[in-house]
Amino acid sequence: MTASANVTPLLADRPVANMRPSAAIELHNVTKIYETASREQVHALSNINLDVGAGEFVSVLGASGCGKTTLLRIIGGLEGGYAGKLTLHGRGGDNSRRNVGIVFQDANLLPWRTILQNVLLPTQVLRLDKRASIARAHELIELVGLKGFENKYPFELSGGMRQRVSIARALVHDPSVLLMDEPFGALDALTREVMNSEVLKIWDTTKKTVFMITHSISEAVFMSDRVVVMSPRPGRVIAEIPIALSRPRNIDMLSEERFGGYTRELRRLLDVSALQAVNAKNSS
């Protein structure tokens, strides 16, 4: 939070959306060091302190290699061996898989399963009640706009539709936290825009806490309550920008003056961090 002190006046004089309810994700001094094959130590993450409130939509922006995916993997229980503390809803992060749903960049559907069977996968692994799960899967398939496709196979769907299935799958066990790792990175620009609005609608309906990684500045501003900017080597948080655009968001807001202000500010922060990374590389 100290880093957000150096935001420009344009953003600082707004009422900061700091009235978050209890934190859904709490990261306290999380540090992750990799050791490469040549015994070299790489600081993937350095002293990350970050809270995400329940029901909040937070995006992370940063150059590749800034550790944002590592951060998401730690929260999702896919990466161990880190220092510091992770809490999900006040509980230790390691045995709370039921509470997290992950949307990956690739839909990662199982091609030999129908759409319905794919959506049901988490409930099967988590041994949830079958009948209730099927009912919920049908609801979610409808929510992501794929009603009628339940018995189709992934190869019969387009890329955007597959990603919708993976969103339904991430929500089927009713987790309170939704983690998304560049969920629209593999989609074309048009589909991507449609999906942004769709996900916001789903978020609005389900009231999940969303933690999303993206490379797109405008996507981050358009969707989020707060944008976290990370910088590489070592991966750390350099700024947190609350986005005070009203909800629900719509496409017209993209041309608003304030929207432009946010994107300019974020671009500046990213450029600075990229420059620092280049300088650090040259000096070493």
Partner: protein, 276 residues
Amino acid sequence: MTIDATSATKIVAARKRERLRWAAISGSDYFISLAGFILLVGIWEASVRLFAIPDYILPAPSAIASSLYTGFVSGIFIYNFGVTAFETLIGFLLAAVVGIATGALVAQFSLVERIVYPWLVALQTLPKVAIAPLIIIWAGYGIGSKIFIVALVAIFPVLVNTIMGLKSCDQGKLDLMQSLGAGRWETFCTVRLPNALPFIFAGLNVAIVLAILGAIVGEFVGSKAGLGNLILEANFQFDVARIFAVLVILAVFGLVLSQIMRVLQNIFLFWNKALS
């Protein structure tokens, strides 16, 4: 939403058109193949008669057909085919089951891999049929030794492909299972094994051809019955027409087996065919 739906139906429709087009092409292909076959047999028959080639060098197709007929009527072909088919199928099934199971153990447990892998590498380049005489000495002239030889010859492609398929699972799907807290066995059954099926089937397709080869070679080395035994016998009697007749049976047998494999593959891998 609408963009997605229409583009998907378009994709499906395009695939359907493609399939129909292929069906049409292969239909005319069948006709051309059949015409070519009839032409070849006709030329063969005519040349044998025209140049009066003796039967013990190259029998005419008509002589082969009559040898086939008498062989079947006397029951000698049916019995010996039964023996060879039994050896081939049981040996193949043994190779499939043991190959897939061992491949799974190697891919899942690094300890097993470290024990088995050096043997695998060493034995892979060895021509397995060279061991056939040894196996006849150990296991005798009966059906058992042939089944063993068949399994030995057929197991390698199954084993190697199973290991390759199980190891080639893409990390995203494994991450998904891990994020849900799935255990090793559950991940294996739900993701790794189905994902490896295209590889395993490729191995089985090679293995089925090798299985017939193994059975015939085994019978050559030492046997009391079977189509390989029949070929040797006919060879000693210079009954070349009968040799050709047995070859015809073997060719049809191989064709039928590979067609069965194809049908099984289409059933189990429908999702993979559509993907590529």
